[in-house]
Symmetry: C2
Subunit: 212 residues, 2 copies
């Protein structure tokens, strides 16, 4: 699990991003900050794995905060203005990454994983390759080994279909087969019953997978 603190002065951006990142299974948002001072405070209190920092913030800027933290924790700078000047500033302040706000969310998640793994993300040349290497949300071992049919059952479970007979009807198979699949799912996810399996399925985001 990667603990992240996010700093951005636009509340909407801050709260949305926190919410979105938090819903990624292997990332947890442990603090948010609206300015550099709060960022320093949150970082010292929460000891996160990675920082996500907007440059443009009132009072104490992101750059100033990073300088104060002196690279103790890998920080990714996320900014609207991706000019060379800003990039150099961020690099000088000790950031390990420099990303535009036009970055897709999955790429940002990959960047967070890369930073947590100690990678450097400043080099524009190799950025795509580094992100690619951290794209897989490394599902919790067992979850990765779920078969297509098992995922399908989990999806229905996460959508509120819990009864064996209803699941059997939905998949056009016997109740016996449903119970067999469920038993295999319990084994792989290390859970005991369908309530826990449903919770886990939602945590893994299976509840909004395509019906196909």
């Amino acid at each position: 699990m990667i603990d992240v603190v996010i700093a951005d002065d636009h509340t909407l951006m801050l709260e949305s991003l926190a919410e979105a990142l938090d819903s990624i299974p292997d990332i947890r948002v442990v603090g948010t900050a609206a300015n550099g001072a709060e960022l320093v405070e949150q970082t010292r209190q929460q000891r996160p794995t990675v920082l996500l920092v907007d440059i443009e913030m009132p009072q104490v800027s992101g750059i100033a905060a990073l300088r104060e933290l002196a690279g103790a924790i890998p920080a990714i700078v996320v900014t609207m203005h991706t000019g060379e000047a800003e990039r150099r500033q961020a690099e000088a302040a000790g950031a390990v990454g420099f990303l535009s706000k036009a970055t897709p969310l999955p790429d940002l998640a990959a960047a967070v994983r890369a930073a947590a793994a100690g990678e450097q993300l400043l080099d524009t040349e190799t950025l795509a390759e580094v992100l690619d290497r951290h794209r897989a949300p490394q599902l919790d071992a067992g979850a990765a080994s779920l078969t297509a049919r098992e995922r399908e059952i989990l999806r229905h479970l996460a959508q509120g279909v819990s009864a064996t007979d209803e699941l059997a009807d939905l998949l056009f198979i016997s109740q016996k087969t449903v119970k067999n699949h469920l038993a295999n799912i319990y084994d792989k996810l290390a859970v005991a019953d369908r309530a826990q399996a449903a919770v886990e399925a939602i945590r893994l985001g299976l509840h909004r997978d395509p019906p196909d």
Copy 2:
């Protein structure tokens, strides 16, 4: 359920906000757009209840897109620059609301509900009052009538504690009482078992309520 289409040229903002709004029980994001042209297309295809539009977008601006849609669907303009000029532009283009990107997420959600209910949000004087009236995420009738103890049990359920004896131990009550509470919960949430109750609890956001 309120269907929303969001337009913003910053991918990170767009995707984060979509994710965050989607996780609100009574709001569903049915489309996203990176520019005005996509916004018009998504709106015509999806027929959403409310539009959330950033002004500053490449190619076709949010204002131009709103003018083209001619107020067919209530639109809330969300912008970084909240000057009088922008406000007048938004109003002239037919927007029913004009909010800063410094708006907290719950306020934006309230604004979306207000817009869906046909309210005007342009008047700065009455804005706070209007938002207040739409603050309550109008939980699905039954959910609102849950007692504190029932919510506590649902919270644990949503966090993966499903067995009756474990719940009883956690709450220092008998298994009988747990089963009674659960029966009342099933009744109020209109579900049949703890798997469905867990799914519903997570949908209501109870899984990250404070342990208090």
